[in-house]
Symmetry: C3
Subunit: 300 residues, 3 copies
């Protein structure tokens, strides 16, 4: 599989596996080991976590699988996130869901992720959400310390606007390596608000969360989803596939920003279908048919 | 007439003649030669085209006039555009109106413009609309090749936001020389969304399309147009003119961004009236009376 | 009191006294001298004016107090503003409220401020509002001349967006030292539109006007204000105070952008309460409880 070079030392697989719903998949440890191995066989080497996924449980589930087969660790890149504090029985001191990007919290959260994941380092740590009260000097101190200690190799952000990205960057002694944002046929905002242009300008490849629009195109009950589904199927007819998710991934892969979709499925056949999207060659006109179906208006 | 220096080697006349509606004017070739000569006599040396104007026909109409009197070519700057694919009997392979800024399309479109215009080069080629799927590396390759071959002297964009402008610029080995955007007493968006500020910051003089608001102020049926017309006439009374279009041009010319209005008329008396606007000296208070009439609210 | 360093030579007190409503306070000259001295005793050394405050009268009222006790001048930093032309019996030639940032007006306005304030210089002159017709070259010429003449030491802006700030900066031979914008628990726009991030990126500490939301939280008649008041009181219970204004100031002071609130009160007890906010130590969770009450939605 194509690799996307994020820095001199770091590359991600073009398709990324996301563990957001790992706890819902009800996998036994050995089954998760198998799923990871199947991903690696497909060329998916990058795995996306967050401290809070699965009510703060998913990192530990993944960590148990790694402990069962430690040789897997060197074959993968692990991404995790910090900065959101959930209302949770796991965190009784949180009285309201909020963000915390203090030096203290970033370091504690990262160290906790290492413990849960049963690993010595994560490849990339992301700030999960832009924190309007973020002190960029504290973030810079936390990142620098974690990097010096070898606990985190590289840093990025998630759901940041261009100005938030640039502001934080200006305080860091190293570049942010990615911005994980929502991108799909049904969610064009990041194309329209300058986020993806900013990625292109900064030569930062974005990760795409919810790349198949959370499933709403498959059922397609609302008008917009109906339009998109119809356009996907029309384009699919020319391209020789009826698989909606494959077409939605192909639409993202067509774009020059080197979008890296985060596949959120625990079923290997769906993951395989996503990977198959890499062989689809959309044309410019195909891409626009889907764009126009999504916006609901012709281009100007 | 005042010239606006865009680069060391390139200047535009402050007022520009636009050929968008050339096919509607029903001019015989010799009449078009006369119109061009009258423009040149007035000091208008810059002529604005696009591949798609007149259903892909207008460049060729202009080209025939140039062929009748080849000595005109050296007296003018020709601007044309590419990147939109119209639904058109001229382009039966287009199934939906869309944008295409691939290397292949830019080069083919520019070469086709040269053939239609019966000239060896165009002075400036613009990307007509921001393409959300634009690959800036392909654009850079196309521009560089066209420049090396002498087919296009300089490059610019049209309807680009600041972030789109900066993104593309970051891939080019030479600066973009202009951004042609909609600016008029009735269309203040480019003042309000940072586009004109960005032009000032980058020292890029913008071209203004639809500079007299497409004629809707003359009839003034809607409330906003009625307010604007009233304010223009009030200001005109102090300035000694009742010509609405002259006042609308003067309002643009007042602005420090060196806005270059694209005059879209085929009638020499209307073009002359536009040029006369250069001698009008609005005050700051005049300018604001018209601004406030357009926004419909007092300044803060 | 904490000082905020704006340049190598210029520092403001963290809390600033604002003279916007000076004419409403009906102070005798000697009473104003006393108020100024009490501010200075509290550590408030920075005083915020504008040419237009009090229908163009407030600078002169303040100037009379300075004339009564000239030794005060060296103990304070004076900020004033220019660029708005009010409809006013004091300015009969203004036919409509508008902005004017011409070289001529900036210089005349600044010189008039010096005369009214009975001082040889102001520490900082701000452009009061972004002027869509601003000629940045004229502003640069005016600023440069005023600085060379020693009439104004430093320059800044007010209510500028990031792109307006950057554009003007690009024409100036020295940095803008502040951006005075509206920030309060009830006015989050400057957090949400990139303004405060831009201040952090440019290392420019913003001044906050209307930092206690113009008083509407005290009465709290609308839904949003009711929510904010409730959250402030809940947080206040944990922090040991029921003073709403102190809590609103503390919320601003928590933020890492080094926001400098402009206290608009003529009552020394309210000023003292504002200064007391400096000793309150909010937590991240407190800050977010108030943020969420203001937006009316949970964080994402």
């Amino acid at each position: 599989m194509e690799k996307i070079k994020l820095t001199e030392e770091l590359s991600f697989s073009r398709m990324i596996h996301g563990l957001w719903r790992l706890n819902d998949w009800n996998l036994k440890d050995q089954e998760l080991v198998m799923l990871i191995e199947e991903c690696l066989d497909l060329g998916i080497t990058t795995f996306d976590h967050a401290d809070i996924y699965g009510n703060y449980q998913n990192e530990a589930i993944f960590g148990k699988a790694l402990a069962l087969k430690p040789s897997l660790r060197d074959k993968m890149e692990i991404v995790t996130k910090c900065g959101i504090k959930l209302l949770s029985n796991q965190r009784p001191d949180h009285e309201v869901k909020h963000y915390d990007t203090s030096k203290d919290h970033i370091i504690k959260s990262a160290e906790n992720s290492l413990k849960n994941l049963q690993t010595d380092y994560v490849d990339v740590l992301l700030i999960h959400r832009p924190d309007p009260a973020m002190d960029p000097e504290e973030v810079a101190e936390a990142f620098t310390l974690l990097k010096e200690q070898g606990k985190v190799k590289h840093f990025g952000v998630s759901n940041f606007t261009p100005s938030q990205f640039d502001m934080l960057s200006s305080y860091l002694p190293f570049p942010l390596v990615t911005n994980q944002v929502e991108i799909s046929v049904s969610h064009l905002e990041t194309f329209q608000d300058g986020t993806i242009e900013h990625c292109l300008q900064k030569r930062v490849a974005p990760m795409a969360w919810s790349p198949v629009a959370g499933g709403k195109i498959f059922n397609a009950t609302d008008e917009k989803s109906v339009r998109i589904k119809k356009a996907l199927l029309e384009v699919g007819e020319e391209l020789g596939t009826k698989e909606l998710d494959k077409l939605m991934y192909a639409w993202l892969l067509y774009h020059p920003a080197k979008i890296m979709p985060v596949i959120g499925s625990g079923k290997i056949e769906r993951i395989r279908s996503a990977v198959d999207a890499l062989s689809i060659k959309m044309t410019c006109q195909h891409w626009y048919k889907i764009w126009i179906a999504s916006t609901g208006v012709d281009v100007a």
